[in-house]
């Protein structure tokens, strides 16, 4: 689905932020990438979608471009379009006629718990609802691989919990492969099949790969009570602390 091999990224001619990264997402897998700030997590996603040229290594996509969906933390909806038209926008860009795009968009709003909110402008929606619209906009294009960069970081805990569960249900149901960038270790464990840990930048490297054996479909509250959760979290936390600590000693 996605194969990143020996990838090095740098800004201009400066020191690489990320070096020699290897990462794979198998079909239907939910993969997370965690790491401290400045480890080049977001740059890696930008390189995958082609917004940034790698200075070495390569990215192999197992899907066509239109099958790639993206959701970022600071995604914005068109303020002059209703929720419904925002969701329908991608479909219309793909050449579907307006009535059909709208009908499909309506369905996606319903699936994300926003039935009846279609005629509202983004301004009249809460932060969580706007995120749901953005999610509907991306999912309506039926991506086979979804890239996300801390998409729900700005939401408060309860809203975030609900939207994350809804996303997980849809992703599991439609067998969408996911690569999620986050700095929330618990979120990564609860959602993922595989978690990669990036070291401290510059010249960050992928330090560890953890396999998370929690069965699917998952409930994100119950997943925390799985016997493998606590030890994994402790290991992940320990490894991440060691990374950050190394930097401190070096300084």
């Amino acid at each position: 689905m996605l194969d990143v091999s020996d990838l090095t990224l740098s800004y201009g001619s400066g020191e690489p932020v990320l070096e020699g990264a290897d990462l794979r997402v198998e079909p239907g897998q939910f993969v997370s990438l965690v790491g401290p700030s400045g480890s080049g997590k977001s740059s890696l996603l930008r390189a995958i979608i082609g917004l940034q040229q790698p200075s070495a290594g390569k990215v192999t996509l197992g899907v066509e471009r239109p099958e790639l969906g993206m959701l970022f933390q600071d995604d914005a909806l068109l303020p002059w379009r209703t929720a419904l038209d925002n969701v329908a926008l991608g479909l219309r860009i793909r050449g579907k006629p307006r009535p059909r795009s709208r009908a499909e968009a309506e369905g996606w709003l319903g699936r994300l718990g926003l039935a009846g909110f279609g005629q509202r402008f983004p301004r009249a929606l809460s932060g969580g609802q706007r995120k749901r619209v953005a999610l509907a906009q991306v999912l309506a294009l039926e991506p086979r691989l979804l890239l996300m960069d801390e998409p729900f970081a700005s939401l408060d805990a309860i809203v975030r919990h609900r939207i994350t569960q809804d996303l997980l249900d849809l992703v599991e149901g439609k067998k969408i492969s996911v690569l999620l960038v986050t700095h929330d270790l618990e979120e990564a464990l609860v959602l993922s099949d595989v978690v990669y840990l990036l070291g401290q930048g510059p010249r960050a490297r992928i330090r560890q790969r953890y396999v998370i054996p929690i069965p699917r479909p998952r409930d994100i509250m119950k997943a925390r009570t799985n016997p493998s959760f606590a030890p994994l979290l402790e290991r992940l936390w320990h490894d991440l602390s060691a990374e950050v600590g190394m930097l401190r000693r070096a300084a």
Partner: protein
């Protein structure tokens, strides 16, 4: 209208009546010299006389015609130049400083020059109005395009949108919003341009009447004309505000 708002309107109306009554009394009792400060009743009489013989309409028509034509021309040309400057760097590098200089100059001082160039007819009034509005709209559209939310551009691109979609879905609505928020200012500018143009040299128009009233030391006529201009500008203001509200209901 709710009780509260009705009460407020009544109190405001009463305050206005008190001021006018006081003014009237001060003139009647000889405190104010009616040569400089004619009583409200005298201004009312003059106003009535102006409309009673119907002469005023040709002047209203002349001023309105010049203001609206100049407004239209200024909006179209200003918007076109602004678009060109924002999208074509070669045009922008010339127009940006040129317009900045034009913006710093009180452009109304060009009025005498336009009378020499275009004569005392409507053309010189249109020119004054045009030059006021075109520079205003140049900057409205230029900044509207330049300061478009980059996240929206990225979002539409990642959904697969090309130049045409970007123009239609992002740039055009963004610029419309900017332009509309400048429309009320532009209406004021349009009348300033037309009236001042008539002031300088003309044979018709409210500015011409105003200059006539001033040269004959007719304070009542001057005040009556000021009132007429204010009312017309207010009506246009109201129309512009309604247009803005309708088209920008997403705000």
């Amino acid at each position: 209208m709710s009780r509260q708002r009705l009460g407020l309107a009544l109190r405001r109306f009463a305050a206005l009546a008190v001021v006018l009554g006081l003014w009237e009394a001060l003139v009647r009792f000889g405190v104010l010299n009616p040569f400089y400060m004619p009583a409200p009743s005298k201004i009312g009489e003059t106003l009535f006389a102006l409309f009673a013989d119907g002469d005023i309409w040709t002047h209203v028509e002349a001023t309105f015609g010049a203001a609206l034509l100049g407004l239209l021309l200024g909006v179209v040309v200003g918007a076109a130049l602004g678009t060109a400057a924002a999208l074509l760097p070669r045009v922008g590098e010339i127009l940006d400083p040129a317009m900045t200089v034009m913006n710093a100059v009180p452009r109304i001082i060009l009025a005498p020059l336009f009378v020499i160039w275009f004569g005392i007819g409507i053309a010189s009034k249109i020119a004054v109005t045009f030059v006021l509005i075109a520079v205003l709209f140049f900057f409205a559209v230029y900044s509207g395009i330049k300061e478009v939310d980059q996240r929206l551009v990225d979002r539409v691109r990642t959904l697969g949108g090309g130049r045409a979609v970007l123009l239609q879905e992002v740039y055009l609505p963004a610029v419309t919003a900017w332009a509309l928020s400048h429309l009320k200012i532009a209406v004021g500018f349009a009348f300033t341009g037309a009236v001042v143009g008539e002031f300088v040299a003309s044979s018709r128009g409210l500015g011409y009447l105003l200059s006539f009233a001033q040269s004959t030391y007719n304070a009542a006529l001057t005040m009556a004309l000021l009132l007429v201009i204010v009312v017309f500008v207010f009506v246009l203001f109201g129309l512009a505000a309604r247009l803005e509200k309708r088209l920008l209901r997403w705000r």
